[in-house]
Symmetry: C2
Subunit: 223 residues, 2 copies
DNA sequence: GGATGTGAAGTGGTCTGACCACTTCCACGG
DNA sequence: CCGTGGAAGTGGTCAGACCACTTCACATCC
C-alpha cells in the first residue's frame, strides 16, 4: 500500500509512483504506461484514484490517452503548462495597454534574437509567407493568417521555445481586443513591405535596424 | 447534459462548465464552489467525472479542497505550475538555456520601462532594500531575499503588471535550476554595488546605461 | 449571557463493480 | 496469402457505498 502515513492524498502519492515507474522502467516519450487496471492493482488503490492522477498528468500534457488504446508518455516539449499559465494569467486581464505593450516587448526581444539565430530555413519560410500574402492581396483577400504567420516565424527564429510559447498566447489574446488594422485601405500592401524590410534587416543581422523597423511596424499596425 | 457532441471528454467539458459557473456566480478567490455532489447533479454527470476535473484544477493550484470542508477558489498567484514545471522538466537542458535567457530578456525589458516610469516611491523602496542587504551582509547573512526583492521592485516599476506577472514565475523557477551565486565569497557585496549602479542609472533615466548594467549584473550572477 | 460540548448533516476521499466505446491483434475462413 | 470478424484489453463514465473530516446549530454548563 502507498504511504498513507503522510497526509498526502492518494492521487498525489500515485503521481509520485507513476513517476517512479516511468524512471525505473526507463519509459521514454512514446512508450506505453501500464493500464489503469494494472496500476490500480500494483499500487493497491482504486482505479478512480489512478484515474485522478492520470487526468492531472494529461491536463499538463505529460501523457496522452487513447480511448481503447492505452496511455502514453509524451515528450516534455508538449507540456501545456505555459498555455495554462497564460490562460489563467490573461483570463481576467483588463488593461489593454499592458497587453499591447507586452506584445511589443516580446516581438522586439524575438527580433533581436532572430538577428543572431535565424537560419536559411527560417528565411525561406518568411519568403513563402510574404509571397502568399502578396498572392492573397492580388486576389483581393486580406492576408490575416499570413500576417500572424510572419510574426510567428520570427518568434520561432529566436530559437527560444519559451519565448515563443509565451509570445503565442499573448498575441492570440491581443488579437481579440483590438481590431485588425489590415482591413484599412492600403494597409495590407504596406504591412507586407514592412515585413520585408524587417526580414532584410534580420538577414543582415542588423539588430538596431530590425528592432527599429519592428517597432515602427507595430506602431503602424494600430488601428 | 453537457455537449458530448464535441469529442471532448466529459471532464474537460466540466472544466469549462466550472469556469462558466465561476464567472456567472462571480466567484472570487476564497469563495466556495458548489459541492461535488451538487455539481454532479447540476451537470448531469457522474461524481467521479466531476472529481477528475476538480483534481486537475487542484493540481494547478487554482482551487483548494478541504477534506470535509468544501472546495474553494484560490488566487492564481498560488498556482503550483512552477513547482510542477520544475519537477517534470528540470532535466531538459535546452529548456534551461531558454529559461535563463528568457529571464534576462524580461529583466532588460523591465529595466528599460523602469527608466521611464519608476517613481520616487519605487526608488525609496529600492533604497530600503539595498540598506537591508548591507545590514545583512554586516551580520554575515547572505541577503538572498533582498536580492530577489530588488529585482522584483524593478519589475514593478516597469508599471506593466502583465510583465510583472510573467516575470515572477520565470524568476522563481530559474532560481531553482541554478545555484545561488551569492554564496560565492565577496559576491554579495559586489551584487549590492551593481544593484546600486542599476538604480542610479534608472534614476537618471539612462536607458542604455541601466540596460548595460543589468546585463552585466546578470552575467556576473552566474555561478 | 457566554463559553463549552455534542451530535447530525454536509462534504471531500476512496473503493468497487458495472457497463459502454474504442483499439488491438490473432485465429479462422476465404 | 490476405482480409475479416470477434475476443480480449483498455480507457470513459456512472452509481452506490462507506469512511474521515468539517461545520454549525443546539443543548448544556458555568
Amino acid at each position: 500500500m502507498l504511504e498513507t502515513t503522510r497526509k498526502r492524498k492518494v492521487y498525489q502519492a500515485i503521481l509520485m509512483e507513476i513517476n517512479r515507474i516511468m524512471k525505473e522502467d526507463n519509459l521514454r516519450p512514446g512508450d506505453r504506461l501500464p493500464s489503469e487496471r494494472e496500476l490500480s492493482e500494483r499500487l493497491q488503490v482504486g482505479r478512480s484514484s489512478v484515474r485522478e492522477a492520470l487526468r492531472a498528468l494529461e491536463l499538463l500534457g505529460l501523457i496522452t490517452t487513447r480511448h481503447g488504446g492505452g496511455t502514453y508518455v509524451q515528450h516534455y516539449r508538449h507540456n501545456k503548462l505555459i498555455d495554462i499559465l497564460g490562460y489563467y494569467i490573461l483570463r481576467d486581464y483588463k488593461t489593454k495597454r499592458d497587453l499591447i505593450e507586452m506584445r511589443k516587448l516580446l516581438e522586439l526581444d524575438a527580433v533581436r534574437l532572430a538577428c543572431k539565430r535565424a537560419t536559411d530555413k527560417h528565411f525561406e519560410e518568411m519568403e513563402r509567407i510574404l509571397e502568399a500574402s502578396e498572392e492573397k492581396i492580388r486576389q483581393g483577400i486580406v492576408p490575416t493568417e499570413e500576417d500572424y504567420k510572419f510574426h510567428r516565424i520570427i518568434a520561432r527564429s529566436s530559437r527560444n521555445s519559451l519565448l515563443h510559447r509565451i509570445w503565442a498566447p499573448i498575441v492570440e489574446y491581443s488579437k481579440t481586443i483590438r481590431e485588425d488594422s489590415l482591413s484599412r485601405e492600403g494597409r495590407p500592401e504596406q504591412a507586407v513591405k514592412e515585413h520585408r524590410g524587417i526580414m532584410e534587416a534580420i538577414k543582415r543581422g542588423d539588430v538596431a535596424e530590425s528592432e527599429k523597423r519592428m517597432a515602427q511596424h507595430l506602431e503602424n499596425s494600430k488601428l
